[in-house]
Each structure stands twice: as structure tokens, then as C-alpha cells.
């Protein structure tokens, strides 16, 4: 038991130490951790999300171009060769980052790092690939995403909350025209030295750095200045969108500008009605007020210079959604009075969520990617320590200032009967 604990602690410290070293190789920031996983993954994280885009939809189109033909390999060649190695190539786009990921068996890193690097340095962005693969893919992806009322509500919430910058959707809206030249120009502006971080798991840092020197070295990346986004400011507002055949959806949210604080995570943990034990109701103040057939989930979306926090209420009937909405608003208003054991409970819940999120590959990416791009050291210990500093007065001050701002209120569904913000008491 004691031995097991000691080795767990050692492993945890090794994780923190490995990630704390961010080295520069070939103009990019490299961070890698090897915990002896059976597979490796390498991610090129580019500061080229939708908030940096020069033209609506160009970031999404660039994501669609991932792993298409480059000077080294054709589109088909990339796929077939990756299949022969048994790897998985994927691309993801958020409002801030474009992530190009390759997951593969140990020992195949030469090939996969080269695939990723050759896309960064020598993608062809041909017009026929845009017309034949990328544009239909982007349209289908957007349609699929917006078929979910939750995604739609959150997308609109970002627009209301931040307007420009973070408000820009990572999905292409219908009727957007993007040319291959637009994509190339955007790619040239974001694929620059200092704008890319390479994160590896299951691969030794020096091996990864050496491979990057080989494939990105000798001035392959331009040193031009990367596009800047205006600092985020929070606005808020209300909107209602008609939708049919999907759950009635209401999003009640608040935003902050500036670096997301630990208090916000604690507030989210406090209000989160997800029970810790299956088939129980949960002890959140929201839980008791949720009618059967209605669900509530907390949404906390931290960004580099802002955060959007809110509760997403979904249900079959508008009456149920309205009742749950009233419970949510009441719980939000009384959240600032949290103290004593209740506060401690929320803090440890938030702490656990933060710690367990950094365990998986995706969690590591999101928690360490942004700080690696900045070149700063970010360890889990420092993050967890910030939770310990929270006391009742700091928490109530943070909550009060959050709730003082204008709420972001989005309804998607039957707009005639869904409640307005003032009907819920906002």
C-alpha cells in the first residue's frame, strides 16, 4: 500500500517535471512527457483558431485541409501510409487553437512527425481539393454540429458574450465563400515560428526535438508576426432561435475577461447537478428544482483572456425548462453566500475535476497546450494550489462581480413559450 502510494507520487512528480521543461527546437516550443504509454501522440498546436481568422470560415477551411496533399505526399499517399503504420491522424479546431494530432505505435515517430511537419511547411492548398473534399466536409461538419441545440446555443452565447474575437464561430456559416488563396494566406500567417507548440505524449522530449530539427529546421518556418486578436471584453445579451424536433434549450451564462480564475471553477463545481453516485439526485442547490425529463449541466469554457460560465438547461417540455431555469437562477443568486463545509466541498470537487482532466491525453493537451505556447511553465501542483487559497470572502466577491455583469441568455427551441430572461428572474 505504502509502496504503491510512493510510486504513484513519484510518477506524479515525474509528470510535472517532464512537462515543466519547454524547450525551443526549430523555432517551435516543444513539451513532451513519456509515462511509458503503449502508444505515442504528437500534437502541433497552432495559435490559429477562429478568433484569429482574417475572413469568416477560413480557420475551419484550414482545418479541413489538414493532411491533404503536400509537396512530399499526396492526400491518398498520406492516408494509405498512415493506415499501413496503424496510426490515427486527426485535426481539431477551437476558438483559439488549431490542433493537428497523430497517434501511433511507439517507434513510428519518424513518419508521423514528418507528416505533421510537412503539412505545416509545404501543404499545397489546391483549388480542386477545396472544392472536392474540404468545402463539402466543412458544410457537413457545420450541419452536424448545429443539429445539436446545445452546440447552437453555446455558439450564439459566445457571439453575444464576446462579439468579435472569441465570438467568432469555429464553424463555417452557410453561404460563406472561401478560396484556396484565402486559406493559403491564413495558413502562411499562422504557421510561423513562435506561433506553434508541439506536444508529445509517450515520446521522449529529446527524440521529438531531434525529429523536429530534421523536419522543421533550416528556416522552414517564416518569422513573420502572427495575427493578433483584440483582447476579449464581455458584453452579454439575449437571443431566441426557433428550432424544432430537438430538446428545448436554454443557456444562462455570464462571462469574465482576464485570465480565468479558480473561483469560477469552484462556482461551476458547486452548481454542477451531476450526481457523484449513480441514480441519485446529487447535492447541488440546483438538483432539487429540476423536474423529471429536464437536464441541467454547468458549462465552464476558459480561454486565454476570458471565460464563459453558464448553465445549459435542456428538456422535453418548455414548462420543465422554465421550472429548472428558475431553480438555476435562484441557485446562482444565492451562490455567493457559500461558506464553511459547503465551500470546502465545492473546492475539492473542482480540484478533483482539474486533476483528473489533466490525466488523459486530451486533458493534457487543453491544460498544458496554451501555457506551452506562451512558453511558461505550468504544473498541476501550481494549479491545485490556487484552489487552496480560496476562502469564503474571495469566493463571494468573485461571484458577486460575475453576477453583476449582464447575463448572456440564449433559448433554442419553441420561442413562443420558452421563458424570457426576466421571467426567470435575471
Amino acid at each position: 500500500m505504502l509502496a504503491a502510494r510512493a510510486s504513484a507520487a513519484r510518477r506524479a512528480s515525474r509528470l510535472a517535471r517532464n512537462f515543466a521543461t519547454v524547450v525551443d527546437a526549430a523555432g517551435v516550443k516543444v513539451a513532451a512527457v513519456d509515462n511509458g504509454q503503449p502508444t505515442s501522440a504528437v500534437t502541433f498546436l497552432v495559435k490559429g483558431g477562429s478568433r484569429f481568422e482574417s475572413k469568416p470560415g477560413v480557420a475551419h477551411a484550414l482545418k479541413g485541409f489538414a493532411f491533404k496533399s503536400t509537396a512530399k505526399r499526396s492526400f491518398l499517399g498520406t492516408i494509405r501510409e498512415a493506415e499501413l503504420y496503424g496510426g490515427v491522424l486527426s485535426a481539431g479546431l477551437t476558438r483559439e487553437h488549431l490542433a493537428l494530432t497523430a497517434e501511433f505505435l511507439r517507434g513510428d515517430e519518424d513518419f508521423f512527425v514528418d507528416v505533421l511537419a510537412s503539412f505545416i511547411t509545404s501543404a499545397k492548398y489546391t483549388r480542386h481539393e477545396l472544392d472536392e473534399y474540404v468545402a463539402p466536409f466543412c458544410a457537413a461538419e457545420t450541419a452536424t454540429a448545429f443539429a445539436s441545440p446545445a452546440t447552437r446555443a453555446l455558439d450564439l452565447a459566445h457571439l453575444l458574450a464576446f462579439r468579435t474575437g472569441l465570438g467568432v464561430s469555429p464553424f463555417t456559416s452557410a453561404g460563406t465563400h472561401i478560396s484556396a488563396e484565402d486559406v493559403r494566406a491564413f495558413a502562411d500567417s499562422v504557421f510561423t515560428a513562435g506561433n506553434i507548440a508541439v506536444l508529445g505524449t509517450g515520446i521522449a522530449p529529446d527524440v521529438l526535438a531531434k525529429l523536429l530539427e530534421k523536419s522543421l529546421g533550416a528556416g522552414a518556418l517564416s518569422t513573420a508576426a502572427a495575427p493578433k486578436s483584440t483582447p476579449s471584453a464581455y458584453f452579454g445579451g439575449e437571443t431566441r432561435i426557433e428550432a424544432h424536433g430537438a430538446p428545448e434549450t436554454v443557456f444562462v451564462g455570464f462571462g469574465t475577461s482576464g485570465t480565468p480564475t479558480a473561483e469560477l471553477a469552484v462556482l461551476a463545481a458547486h452548481l454542477d447537478p451531476t450526481p457523484s453516485v449513480k441514480w441519485s439526485q446529487g447535492l447541488s442547490p440546483v438538483s432539487a428544482g429540476i423536474p423529471v425529463g429536464t437536464s441541467v449541466q454547468t458549462v465552464l469554457l476558459p480561454y486565454s483572456d476570458a471565460a464563459l460560465f453558464g448553465l445549459l438547461i435542456q428538456g422535453e417540455s418548455t414548462e420543465g425548462v422554465k421550472a429548472a431555469g428558475k431553480a438555476v437562477v435562484a441557485a446562482l443568486k444565492s451562490a455567493g453566500e457559500l461558506k464553511g463545509d459547503e465551500l470546502k466541498k465545492a473546492v475539492v470537487k473542482a480540484k478533483f475535476a482539474a486533476a483528473s482532466a489533466s490525466e488523459g491525453r486530451d486533458g493534457l493537451l487543453s491544460s498544458l497546450g496554451a501555457s506551452t505556447l506562451l512558453g511558461s511553465e505550468s504544473s498541476l501542483d501550481a494549479k491545485l494550489a490556487s484552489f487552496d487559497k480560496i476562502d469564503a470572502s474571495a469566493f463571494s466577491k468573485a461571484t458577486a462581480s460575475l453576477l453583476k455583469s449582464k447575463p448572456t441568455y440564449v433559448t433554442v427551441g419553441d420561442v413562443k413559450t420558452l421563458p424570457y430572461a426576466d421571467e426567470l428572474g435575471l
Binding site: 499526396s74 491518398l76 499517399g77 494509405r80 499501413l84 483549388r127 480542386h128 472544392d131
Partner: protein, 128 residues
């Protein structure tokens, strides 16, 4: 270039390699292209390419909207000439300088992709 490709067999690459041969053949080729008569109805050479095959159809879909429109216009104008049993007035004939192979690169690319796909489909993998 495969013999059964949409562009047909051609000796042109071989001839172009030898400077002497090129100097001898080029005037004859130019004379023949004028004699063929397609320029007199406003066609370019690539308008005559056999288009009833999937690879050329794919290549056609890769033309820019402008190129596509111009091609349709030339086809229509030439069919009209055919109905009238006449050629266009001389100022509307295609000049030798305008007679560029606008479709050939696309056909070649499609063909290359097709050959690559065949190569990957029939690949024998030997693992070390």
C-alpha cells in the same frame, strides 16, 4: 503516358527532346494544326478532347468557373457554325497564341491520381 489514356499516344515529348528534330517538325505541326480547321470555328485543341469518360469529366470539374463558361461558349458557337455549314469570320478564328492546353494539366493530374490509387491498391508490403 499510357496508350489508353484520355490524351492518346503522343510522340511530342520525344520530339521536343531533340532540338534538331523539333526545329524540323515544328513548322509542319503548326501548319497541320491550322489545316485541321478547328481553329476556324473558334475551338481550342482541348475542346476536342474526348470528354465521355470519368477521368476527363473529373478534370472538367476542376476548371475555374471562367474557363468553364468560355468552354461552353466555344462549344455552342462551334455547333452553330456546324448548323450553318460555315466557319466564323476570320477575326474570330482562334489564334495560335490562344490555342493553349487549358485542360491537359488537369487531365494529367487526374490520371496521376488514378495511377497512384492503383499503385496503393496493389501494393505489396514488406515489413522489416
Amino acid at each position: 503516358m499510357v496508350l489508353a489514356g484520355p490524351l492518346g499516344p503522343s510522340l511530342a515529348p520525344t520530339i521536343r527532346k531533340s532540338r534538331t528534330l523539333y526545329r524540323w517538325i515544328k513548322p509542319v505541326a503548326d501548319w497541320y494544326a491550322d489545316l485541321a480547321g478547328y481553329r476556324k470555328v473558334g475551338y481550342k485543341y482541348d475542346d476536342l478532347l474526348l470528354e465521355e469518360r470519368p477521368d476527363v469529366q473529373r478534370a472538367l470539374s476542376r476548371l475555374t468557373p471562367r474557363e468553364h463558361y468560355d468552354r461552353q461558349y466555344r462549344l455552342k458557337r462551334a455547333s452553330h457554325c456546324s448548323v450553318l455549314h460555315d466557319v466564323l469570320p476570320k477575326d474570330k478564328w482562334t489564334q495560335a497564341s490562344e490555342d493553349i492546353r487549358y485542360l491537359k494539366p488537369h487531365v494529367e493530374n487526374v490520371e496521376k491520381e488514378e495511377l497512384e490509387r492503383r499503385a496503393w491498391d496493389n501494393l505489396v508490403v514488406s515489413r522489416k
